[in-house]
């Protein structure tokens, strides 16, 4: 009886809202099916960003798992000022520190044991789209602080505006521009060190 009344009231309150708002309301109410729906809608974007940020698909998968497990808890903070996808990207950034460090350590270890191509073997003409170039790029990205790495991935890789990137990262736009400037500068220098010009 009480459950029926509650369901009716909820249905009435959700009657005039958009599908995303409805989904969010269900998510906030602890509906696990809603979580599944959110995953189905946004997992590709979240996974792509996580992979680009960490540079390691396996670790990115763990990050995606962590983000969606935490979503029912953190969604209560979401006030609807941006899209759910942007909010999820922000959650990825908040949970990324540990995973980026872990991926970076893993790459360093692989380089040490020689399973990844060494910098000397990288030639920009031959490997611009190859694995060696990616490996060198990831090593260069590992030399950046996380904030600058996030700025580079958001603005240059995902081609978002500085305003959008600032909103996602929860930082002022000017700060985001500064981070992007320093990120590009450092990345260029690092790539040069890797032998890529």
């Amino acid at each position: 009886m009480i459950f029926a009344l509650y369901s009716t009231m909820r249905a009435l309150s959700l009657a005039g809202s958009t599908p995303e708002e409805t989904l969010l309301s269900r998510l906030r109410a602890g509906d696990t099916h809603a979580l599944g729906e959110v995953y189905d809608q946004h997992h590709e974007a979240v996974r792509a960003f996580a992979s680009r940020l960490t540079g390691d698909p396996a670790i990115a998968e763990d990050l995606v798992h962590e983000v969606f497990v935490a979503l029912p808890r953190v969604v209560k903070r979401f006030q609807g000022e941006s899209t759910l996808r942007s909010f999820l990207t922000g959650v990825v950034i908040n949970h990324a520190r540990h995973h980026v460090r872990s991926a970076s350590r893993r790459r360093a270890m692989l380089t040490k044991v020689g399973r990844e191509p060494s910098p000397e073997s990288v030639s920009p003409e031959s490997s611009a789209s190859g694995q060696a170039f990616l490996a060198a790029l990831n090593r260069a990205l590992d030399s950046l602080p996380l904030d600058q790495r996030v700025a580079f991935v958001l603005c240059d890789v995902e081609e978002r505006t500085a305003g959008e990137a600032a909103e996602i990262a929860g930082a002022p736009e000017a700060t985001m521009r500064t981070r992007l400037f320093h990120a590009r500068k450092k990345l260029r220098a690092a790539l040069e060190q890797e032998g890529i010009r």
Partner: protein, 279 residues
């Protein structure tokens, strides 16, 4: 676009192409997420299911105990389980030890040998007076607590009990036991008070009464020693020597043994001065 920006553009494009977001394992990750969420929810529910009843029982039990007045009893029972019993007092040193029971009073007496020696010099004038340290009230064993009378059980009734019922309940209820005073202790305490007030004659009589009534009492060594001191005060050296001899001989262990020996020496010296030996 410069070369360097070309490099960055190439880098960005490479990252975009290398990580498109589509992956074969996405279904597996979805299942893993749902599984984790369900597991966490189950764990939360289980936690509530376990801790809520425990908390409720504790809360209701406390409220009931408070309202029915049984809280002190329950509290005492609980604390007696968790709080360790107090350790027995440390054994006294060998010199002052005596076969006594716990809680027997102990008179703090100053070594009287010097006072006795001084008094012995002019023995013709006055009997030796022993200097006693500041009297400390005798420490006594805590009197046993009288058991609480059993209260008649309260019945839940809205009506007030009639006078007949009340009388019957009073008749049925066992009478509250009278508190038993410690007769031995009171006897000893009386004698001890007289001893510390300096009323030696009365103290001797009181100690004698005590020893007669309780020949194997808890405070026999203390009584005998104090009595000996009172005899010295009264100038009754023979009785004092007789009493102190048993202490010096170690009849009561090490209790007052050293002091008794010193006192006996002093009494001997005093006797020698009174009756100088013939050369």
């Amino acid at each position: 676009m410069t070369d360097s920006s070309d490099v960055l553009a190439r880098a960005a494009r490479a990252l975009r192409e290398a990580h498109p977001g589509e992956r074969e394992g996405s279904g597996f990750t979805r299942a893993r997420i749902m599984n984790t969420v369900h597991r966490e929810r189950r764990r939360r529910t289980l936690r509530w299911a376990v801790f809520s009843p425990i908390a409720s029982v504790l809360l209701v039990g406390s409220a009931w105990a408070q309202s029915s007045g049984k809280w002190p009893v329950i509290w005492e029972a609980v604390t007696s389980v968790f709080v360790a019993a107090p350790e027995p007092p440390a054994a006294p040193s060998s010199q002052r030890s005596a076969p006594r029971e716990n809680g027997s009073p102990r008179a703090e007496l100053a070594p009287p040998s010097s006072a006795l020696a001084d008094a012995g010099d002019d023995s013709d004038e006055a009997p030796p007076v022993l200097e006693l340290a500041d009297p400390e009230p005798p420490r006594v064993a805590p009197e046993p607590r009288a058991p609480q009378p059993v209260r008649p059980r309260r019945h839940r009734r809205t009506e007030t009990p009639t006078s007949v019922e009340r009388e019957r309940a009073e008749r049925e209820a066992p009478p509250a036991p009278e508190p038993q005073p410690d007769r031995e202790l009171s006897r000893f305490r009386r004698a001890h008070d007289l001893h510390f007030k300096g009323r030696a004659g009365e103290a001797i009589d009181a100690y004698a009464d005590y020893l007669r009534e309780f020949p194997d009492g808890r405070f026999v060594p203390e009584a005998r020693y104090a009595m000996a001191l009172d005899h010295i005060k009264q100038g009754n050296d023979a009785a004092a020597r007789e009493a102190l001899a048993s202490f010096a001989a170690g009849r009561y262990g090490g209790y007052r043994q050293e002091e008794a020996r010193k006192l006996l020496d002093a009494l001997e010296k005093k006797l020698d001065k009174k009756q100088p030996r013939s050369p």
